[in-house]
C-alpha cells in the first residue's frame, strides 16, 4: 500500500490554521515599520554622502550604523527601502481602491440589470483582460509622464475586470433572493437597492479578493519601477531600488537583495492572509 488508507475519506477540517496569523503578522510588521520609519533614528533617504559609498550592511559611520549598507551615492539603504515601501504601498492601495470601486459598480450594474447592459460590460471586461496591461501601463507612462498620479490611475483603471467579474456573479445570486424581491416590491429605486441592499452582501468576497489581488499589484508596481518607467529616482520605490541596484550588483549585492526581500515578505503575507480568509469565510471566487 503506497498511500495512507484514509486517502479517499475526507478528513475533518482543522479548526485553526496558523497561515492567516503568520501572514497577517508579517504584513503588519512590514507596514508598521515602514509607517513609523520617519520617526526612527535613520539617516535621510535622499541625502548623498560620497565618502561612504557601497558600505556593506552593518557598517557604522559618522551618520550612525547602516544596518543594510549604503548605495552608490552613500545613502542609507534601510532608510531608502522603508521610504520606498511607504510609497509603493500607497500607490498599490490607491490603485486597488480605484479598481475595486470601478469593478464593483460595473459588476453590480451588469449582474442586476442583465440584458444588453450586462453584455456590454462583459465585453469591456474581456477587452481589459485581453490587453497585456503592463505594456499598456508602460505606454501611458511614456505618453503622459511618469508622475505619481499617472501610475496610480493607470494601474487602477487597468485592474477592475476581476472585481467586476466577482461582483457580477454574486449579484446574480443575490437578486434571486427573497429580501431583494421584497425591497423591489416596496418600490425602492434601483440605486438604493444596489447600494443599500446588494453592496453590503458583496463586502466579504470583495475584501478576500482585494487581499489576493494586492500581491499582483505590488509585483506589477515593482516591475514598472524596475524597468525605469515608474516613479523616478532619487525618490525610492521598491521597484526602482532594484532597478538601480542592478548596475552595481557585482559590487554590492545587498542593493538588490534587501528590497526584493521586502517585496517577497509583503506578497507572502498578503497571500497567506488572503488564503486563510478565503477558507474561513467559505468564499468562492470563481
Amino acid at each position: 500500500m503506497i498511500f495512507p488508507t484514509k486517502l479517499l475519506s475526507r478528513r475533518p477540517r482543522k479548526r485553526f490554521s496558523g497561515d492567516g496569523v503568520v501572514g497577517g503578522g508579517l504584513l503588519a510588521a512590514v507596514i508598521l515599520i515602514a509607517l513609523v520609519s520617519p520617526w526612527l533614528p535613520l539617516p535621510d533617504p535622499l541625502t548623498n554622502n560620497l565618502a561612504d559609498i557601497f558600505m556593506p550592511p552593518g557598517t557604522t559611520t559618522a551618520d550612525g550604523t547602516h544596518w543594510l549598507g549604503t548605495d552608490q551615492l552613500g545613502r542609507d539603504l534601510l532608510a531608502r527601502i522603508l521610504s520606498g515601501t511607504r510609497l509603493s504601498l500607497m500607490v498599490v492601495l490607491l490603485a486597488a481602491a480605484i479598481a475595486a470601486v470601478i469593478g464593483t459598480l460595473l459588476g453590480m450594474v451588469a449582474g442586476y440589470a442583465g440584458g444588453w447592459v450586462d453584455a456590454t460590460i462583459m465585453r469591456l471586461m474581456d477587452i481589459q483582460l485581453a490587453v497585456p496591461f503592463i505594456l499598456l501601463i508602460l505606454l501611458v507612462m511614456a505618453l503622459f509622464g511618469t508622475t505619481l498620479e499617472n501610475i496610480i490611475i493607470i494601474m487602477g483603471v487597468t485592474s477592475w475586470a476581476i472585481y467586476a467579474r466577482v461582483a457580477r456573479a454574486k449579484t446574480l445570486e443575490l437578486r434571486e433572493l427573497e429580501f431583494v424581491e421584497a425591497v423591489r416590491a416596496m418600490g425602492f429605486s434601483t440605486p438604493r437597492i444596489l447600494l443599500r441592499h446588494i453592496l453590503p452582501n458583496l463586502a466579504t468576497p470583495l475584501i478576500v479578493l482585494l487581499t489576493l489581488d494586492i500581491p499582483r499589484l505590488i509585483v506589477l508596481e515593482a516591475s514598472i519601477g524596475f524597468l525605469g518607467m515608474g516613479i523616478q529616482p532619487p525618490t525610492p520605490t521598491l521597484g526602482n531600488l532594484i532597478g538601480e541596484g542592478r548596475s552595481y550588483m557585482l559590487l554590492a549585492q545587498w542593493l538588490v537583495l534587501y528590497p526584493g526581500l521586502v517585496i517577497a515578505a509583503l506578497v507572502i503575507g498578503c497571500n497567506l492572509l488572503g488564503d486563510s480568509l478565503l477558507r474561513k469565510t467559505h468564499t468562492r471566487l470563481d
Binding site: R123, I127, A130, V131, L135, L143, V219, F226, L227, V267
Partner: protein
C-alpha cells in the same frame, strides 16, 4: 454546439474590435499624436509636416477607418525608428519569445503537476508542507528579482551559466526558470486543490470498491479530472506571459518580443508598440477561444 462556437467567435471578434479602438485612441488621448511621436526638439514645421504625412490632420473617424482597413489587410504600420514594417520586426523576434515561453510553460506544468500530486496525496504531511512552501515562494518572488538572484549566484559567484544572450541551451536555463516559476506555483496549488476536491467523490470510492490499484485510481480517475481546471488556467496565463516575458527578456538580454516592446516604448516608437499590443491581444483571444472549445471536449458533462 455550433451555436456556441459561433457566439464565442462573435464575442472574440467584438473584443478584438474593442482592443483596436483602445489602441487607436490611446495615442490620441495626449491631444497631439504628431508632437508625441516626433523626437523632442523638432520644429513646428517638421511636426506639421509629419502630422500631414501620417494623416493626423484628418477627422478621427476617417483615421480610425483607415487604421482598421490597413490592419485588416495585414499592414500594422511602419516603425518610426527602424523605418521598416513593424510586422517584419515582430516576426523576427517571435521564435525567441516562443522558445522561452514554451520551455517555461513545459517545465512549470510538469513540475507543478508533480508537486500538486505529492501535496494532495500526502496531505498535511511534511512532504506537503515542503511542496507548498516551494509553490508559495514561486508566487511570492517577483520574476525580475528571481532572475537577478540567479545571475548573482550562478553567473557571478559560481560561474556556471552565462548571464545573458541567446542561442545555446545553457543560455535558456535561467530565463526559462524565472519565467516559469510563477506558473509552476500556480499550477501546483491548483492541482492540489482540485485533486483534494475530487478525491472524496463517489466515483472514486466506486473505483476503489472495484479493487483497482491506488495508483490507477489516482492517475486515471483522479488526476484526469483534476487537470480540467489546469487547462483553463493555462489559457489565462497567456495574458500574463507577455508581461512576465517582458521583464525576463530585459534581465537576460533575450532578443524576444518583450524586449522589443520595452525598447519601442523607450524609443517612442509608437506604431511598433501598438502593433505588439494588438498582436498580444489577438494571441490571448485566440488561445482562450481554443481553450473554451477544448474544455467542452475534455469535460463530457458539458454538452451543448
Amino acid at each position: 454546439m455550433l451555436r456556441y462556437i459561433l457566439s464565442r467567435l462573435g464575442q472574440s471578434v467584438l473584443v478584438m474590435f474593442g482592443v483596436s479602438l483602445l489602441i487607436f485612441y490611446s495615442l490620441h488621448l495626449t491631444g497631439d499624436p504628431a508632437a508625441v511621436m516626433m523626437p523632442p526638439g523638432s520644429s513646428q514645421a517638421e511636426i506639421a509636416h509629419f502630422r500631414q504625412a501620417m494623416g493626423f490632420d484628418q477627422p478621427l473617424l476617417w483615421q480610425y477607418g483607415h487604421y482598421l482597413n490597413a490592419v485588416l489587410h495585414g499592414d500594422l504600420g511602419q516603425s518610426l525608428r527602424y523605418d521598416q514594417p513593424v510586422t517584419e520586426l515582430i516576426v523576427q523576434r517571435v521564435p525567441a519569445t516562443l522558445l522561452l515561453a514554451v520551455t517555461a510553460l513545459a517545465w512549470s506544468t510538469i513540475v507543478g503537476v508533480l508537486l500538486g500530486l505529492v501535496s494532495a496525496i500526502w496531505r498535511n504531511s511534511f512532504m506537503d508542507l515542503l511542496a507548498r512552501l516551494l509553490a508559495f515562494s514561486g508566487q511570492a518572488i517577483p520574476v525580475f528579482w528571481l532572475g537577478l538572484l540567479m545571475i548573482l549566484l550562478f553567473s557571478l559567484q559560481l560561474r556556471w551559466l552565462p548571464s545573458s544572450g541567446y542561442g545555446s541551451a545553457s543560455q535558456l536555463i535561467m530565463p526559462a526558470i524565472s519565467l516559469g516559476a510563477y506558473y509552476m506555483s500556480a499550477i501546483a496549488r491548483l492541482v492540489r486543490a482540485s485533486l483534494i476536491d475530487v478525491l472524496h467523490l463517489d466515483y472514486l470510492r466506486t473505483a476503489q470498491a472495484k479493487g483497482l490499484s491506488q495508483w490507477r485510481i489516482l492517475i486515471r480517475h483522479g488526476l484526469r479530472n483534476a487537470l480540467i481546471p489546469v487547462v483553463t488556467v493555462q489559457g489565462m496565463y497567456f495574458a500574463s506571459l507577455l508581461g512576465g516575458a517582458l521583464v525576463t527578456e530585459i534581465i537576460f538580454a533575450w532578443p524576444g518580443i518583450g524586449r522589443l516592446a520595452v525598447q519601442a516604448i523607450q524609443n517612442r516608437d509608437f506604431p511598433l508598440v501598438q502593433a505588439i499590443v494588438l498582436l498580444a491581444a489577438l494571441v490571448f483571444v485566440v488561445v482562450n477561444l481554443l481553450i473554451d472549445l477544448l474544455y467542452v471536449v475534455l469535460n463530457p458533462r458539458i454538452r451543448l
